[in-house]
């Protein structure tokens, strides 16, 4: 049902219907954002990656050939863009380049500010940042997006065995970190 609906939305968009694209964005933007948010640990970076992915979709949907689900395709783009963002950030930090665009954003509200259990959320996000990127990715996909190993394997291109091992290590480490204090 989902893939039939997605196919018709993509076709409508490619025929010039912008509202169809808005529907695609409305349907998948939360998944994109929350994946990026889990990986990056802050709203502004996650927002940047989400917008980047939406722009990629807008420009590249004409190349999507329905060999996989739209969902898998979007997730693959999100995963790649997020990992690239992390690497870029590391390189920028190495060259001591600050992202000045974020300097004045303190007053702009992170969606987290509206949430009453802010401290608990921060603890989870901090714990996530303490595990290696590959483990973090599989942990987020398994726990928050409730994907099967097969789905994760399709997106990341990694073997199911490798993913299971990564997930196991991530799970152990996150439990330790959250049980501390």
């Amino acid at each position: 049902m989902d893939s039939v609906e997605d196919k018709s939305l993509v076709e409508e968009f490619l025929n010039g219907n912008e509202i169809a694209f808005k529907k695609i964005v409305d349907k998948y933007s939360q998944k994109i954002y929350w994946h990026a948010r889990g990986m990056l640990n802050n709203h502004f970076d996650a927002d940047e990656v989400t917008q980047e992915v939406i722009i990629v979709l807008y420009n590249k949907l004409n190349t999507f050939n329905f060999e996989s689900n739209l969902y898998t395709w979007i997730y693959r783009i999100t995963s790649t863009r997020t990992l690239n963002f992390i690497r870029k950030k590391k390189v920028k930090e190495f060259f001591s380049i600050s992202d000045e665009k974020f300097d004045n954003l303190e007053s702009e509200s992170d969606i987290q500010n509206n949430y009453e259990k802010k401290d608990e959320i921060e603890r989870i996000e901090k714990a996530l940042q303490k595990i290696p990127t590959k483990q973090r990715e599989v942990f987020i996909m398994r726990n928050f997006e409730e994907m099967t190993y097969k789905e994760i394997s399709e997106i990341t291109g990694k073997s199911v065995g490798g993913l299971k091992a990564n997930y196991f290590h991530a799970l152990k480490r996150i439990t330790e970190l959250l049980n501390e204090e």
């Binding site: 808005k22 964005v25 409305d26 933007s29 939360q30 954002y33 929350w34 989400t50 917008q51 939406i54 722009i55 807008y58 690239n84 690497r87 870029k88 590391k90 390189v91 920028k92 190495f94 060259f95 380049i97 600050s98 992202d99 000045e100 969606i111 987290q112 509206n114 949430y115 259990k117 608990e120 959320i121 989870i124 726990n143 928050f144 997930y167 196991f168 799970l171 152990k172 996150i174 439990t175 959250l178 049980n179």
Partner: protein, 162 residues
Amino acid sequence: MKNNKSEFEEIELLEKQLSKKLGTYKEFKNSENNDRYFNNLHYKTMSNLEEKGSKSIFSFNPAISYAMLFILSFTITFQLIDFSDKVTLNNESYLFSETSLWLEEGDYFSTILDEDLDLDFASYINSELNYSSNTSLSDEMNQLTESEFDEIYKNLKNKKIL
């Protein structure tokens, strides 16, 4: 086989232990407070995309920025230096200042002020250059293709810098 079973059991146990804590995060994800952000996301992204498109003619060019900075610094320097009446060869009591100009004693203290200005100007130019190279590097980095960026990243990683 036995190993796999115990690992599977351990995963189940750990997931159970974590489920309550991670439940908070899932609640946060599904909170209605986030709706406003997600409802505006499409509009915000499309506006940014249009803005980017219309700005592309005036896109950042480091060469032009450095040229502008050079012209600006030259103009300001030219205005700060007073070329009139600094050399007075007939006066016996001259002092030799660090600016390599022969000065009359009376003018010495006012020159110190000028030097102070020069120093401030130097630090101003220095900070402008730092800012410029910082933003220029940052912008250039954003314009790199994925493969170019990969190469830089791998180089840094191979040298165990990152």
